[in-house]
């Protein structure tokens, strides 16, 4: 317990003893079995592991989309597992951005409108929302397609619009689940670069789930999951000042 208390320092997300099981017919599948980790701001953290090992489930708990059966998630020192649905929605609105495997764009909206839409709910004026949306689209290099609807965009372009939608909120936390799995090399690299840049330039906590080697190589920190636990973690070569932060 004491060891974990130390680990909280400098971590924008702290998870303690997360457990999650799913009922599959009569059988209960234990997906997470007491995971404790800390995620730092300003870097790109990657969770990798074999298919079905519980990566996405862990991400959903850390990002306040789902509640754990046991354990706590502290974000900026606040226990989000104690929040009600309304407060959770509010929390996500103000602090988190998501990039999902599917692009999940509305067929009826232009790229600009897709990005602008959530900003309206943040209480921004139309003008502010438009400006921010344009900035976000510039960040993902999509300014030339602002008036296009999803039907006219390529997969990579759609993912970049989805990314701009998440970034435009200027979230402190950015969560991505297999953001590159549907994309080819070039497009995948673009996405990785953007995730990096967001972490560096805005000090955002970027947590990403992937088994894409391109991503693993360029992450600041990699957490390898197996059997419902974080097995080992390392910092790939190129990040110079990386001192390991083992959980176990």
């Amino acid at each position: 317990m004491n060891k974990q208390v130390q680990n909280w320092q400098g971590h924008s997300i702290e998870a303690q003893g997360l457990c999650k099981s799913f009922m599959s017919g009569e059988v209960t599948i234990k997906v997470l079995d007491g995971v404790s980790i800390g995620i730092a701001a300003g870097e790109l953290t990657l969770i990798s592991g074999p298919s079905g090992c519980g990566k996405s489930t862990l991400l959903s708990l850390l990002s306040a989309l789902q509640k754990p059966d046991a354990g706590r998630v502290l974000i900026l020192g606040q226990d989000i597992t104690a929040l009600g649905q309304k407060d959770l929605q509010r929390f996500r609105l103000e602090h988190t951005g998501f990039i999902f495997q599917g692009f999940n764009l509305f067929g009826a909206l232009t790229a600009l409108e897709q990005v602008q839409l959530p900003l309206g709910y943040l209480g921004l004026s139309d003008k502010q929302a438009r400006e921010r949306a344009m900035q976000a689209l510039e960040e993902v290099d999509m300014l030339h397609r602002v008036a296009s609807r999803p039907a006219q965009l390529s997969g990579g372009e759609k993912q970049r619009v989805a990314m701009a939608r998440a970034l435009a909120k200027r979230p402190q936390f950015l969560f991505a689940d297999e953001p590159t799995s549907a994309l080819d090399g070039e497009n995948g690299h673009n996405i990785v670069d953007i995730l990096h840049r967001v972490a560096r330039e805005h000090g955002t906590t970027v947590l990403c789930v992937s088994h894409d080697p391109r991503l693993i190589g360029s992450a600041d920190r990699v957490l390898a999951m197996e059997d419902g636990l974080i097995g080992r973690e390392w910092r790939p070569e190129k990040s110079a000042h990386g001192e390991s932060n083992a959980v176990k």
Partner: protein, 378 residues
């Protein structure tokens, strides 16, 4: 603020077509039904609504024009004496059996209206031109509605029997069709001749009157209190008596309940179909809605989007049903089908249609349960 509801409707209107059609069709059904009810039950009072009289005087408690009973001629005297009254006319109502000349078709039930034949008289002034009215003075001359000729097996210039007396059709008019029987216009004398009961001379089924100032109806009514000296009678304004007759047919015959029942069924069926097609749309876009929720847009806000969408669907459906409804009403008017519309009923239909759309939208928000953002992470 970007309106997801409106953008979706504009750019993906094809997807909304089933819902719009469901609303439009329900609206059209409601509208047509209301128009027919108004037309059919409105015709229970053609005697009042097609005449220019301000006041109707008849037997106390008469529920509907066709239930009139004879009142004494002295009542007309009393009316004449009142300073607020400009003109008085007797109106004689006789029920009869119409038999065609060759008598192969059996009898048709007719309501003979015995009316004043002076030019400018009040009864049926809106359908009967003065030249035709004058010609009713010929003994046995009658006028019927053009659309009734076929049912009566008669033609202009032809002869027939009413209650065993010979009559001849001298002309036809439009807008005379009634409820429960075929309306036949005749002079007062002809009508009395056809009357098989022996009413006392000078009596009539109603006396109708024109006021010097139609706004003075209340003071006239107060002055002309039924007095035993003149026998029993009751005074109604024309509007009162018309709606009294319509209400009788609509409510006391049970027709109103049937109509209401139909309206409820149309509403429910319309709402079920509309909500199901809206629900299918929500479920189809569940991942997109879930993404918005993951980004923090509350379920309440998403539900609001859906309701806004359903209200737009309702408004478009309403416009469609109004256009088709107007076309059908126009057609009905040309085909002699009794159909009518008034602003109050039209607004009521519109409110029902929007209500239907609103309810459907609320039901469709159930689809948001599928939009659990956790499903996006697998």
């Amino acid at each position: 603020m970007i309106s997801l509801a409106r953008q979706s409707l504009i750019h993906e209107w094809r997807k909304f077509l089933p819902a719009v059609m469901a609303v439009g069709f329900s609206g059209l059904l409601l509208l047509v039904q209301a128009a027919l009810v108004l037309g059919i039950f409105g015709s229970a009072a053609v005697y009042v609504t097609r005449s220019s009289a301000d006041v109707w005087v008849g037997y106390p408690g008469t529920q509907s024009v066709n239930f009139g009973r004879s009142i004494g001629g002295d009542v007309a005297m009393r009316l004449h004496l009142d300073p607020g009254i400009a003109a008085v006319e007797p109106y004689v109502w006789v029920e009869g059996d119409w038999r065609g000349r060759d008598d192969t078709q059996g009898a048709a039930s007719v309501f003979v209206s015995g009316i004043n034949t002076s030019p400018g008289a009040m009864m049926f002034s809106q359908v009967l031109p003065d030249d035709l009215r004058l010609r009713l003075r010929e003994p046995g001359a009658v006028i019927v509605d053009r659309a009734d000729l076929e049912q009566l097996n008669a033609g202009v210039g032809g002869e027939a029997w009413i209650n065993g007396r010979l009559v001849h059709v001298i002309g036809v008019v439009d807008g005379l069709r009634g409820l429960g029987g075929v309306n036949v216009l005749a002079s007062l004398d002809s009508a009395r001749m056809l009357d098989t009961s022996n009413a006392s001379p000078g009596s009539a089924t109603y006396f109708v009157a024109k006021l010097r100032d139609p706004a003075e109806i209340e003071s006239v009514r107060v002055r002309i209190k039924p007095e035993s000296a003149f026998g029993p009678f009751e005074v109604w304004s024309a509007d009162e008596f018309a709606s009294r007759s319509q209400r009788y047919w609509l409510f006391d015959t049970g027709a109103g309940v049937a109509v209401l029942f139909m309206a409820v069924i149309v509403f429910v069926v319309g709402a079920v179909i509309t909500s199901q097609s809206l629900l299918a749309l929500v479920v189809a876009s569940a991942r997109e809605y879930a993404t918005l929720n993951a980004l923090g847009v509350s379920f309440t806000s998403l539900a609001r989007v859906l309701v806004e969408q359903s209200l737009w669907v309702g408004a478009i459906g309403l416009v469609i049903s109004a256009l088709f409804g107007a076309a059908l009403l126009w057609l009905a008017g040309h085909q002699g089908v009794p159909a009518d519309m008034n602003p109050v009923v039209a607004i009521a239909c519109a409110v029902l249609v929007m209500g239907l759309a609103f309810v459907s939208g609320l039901v469709a928000t159930r689809g948001l349960w599928r939009a659990d953002p956790a499903m996006l992470l697998r």
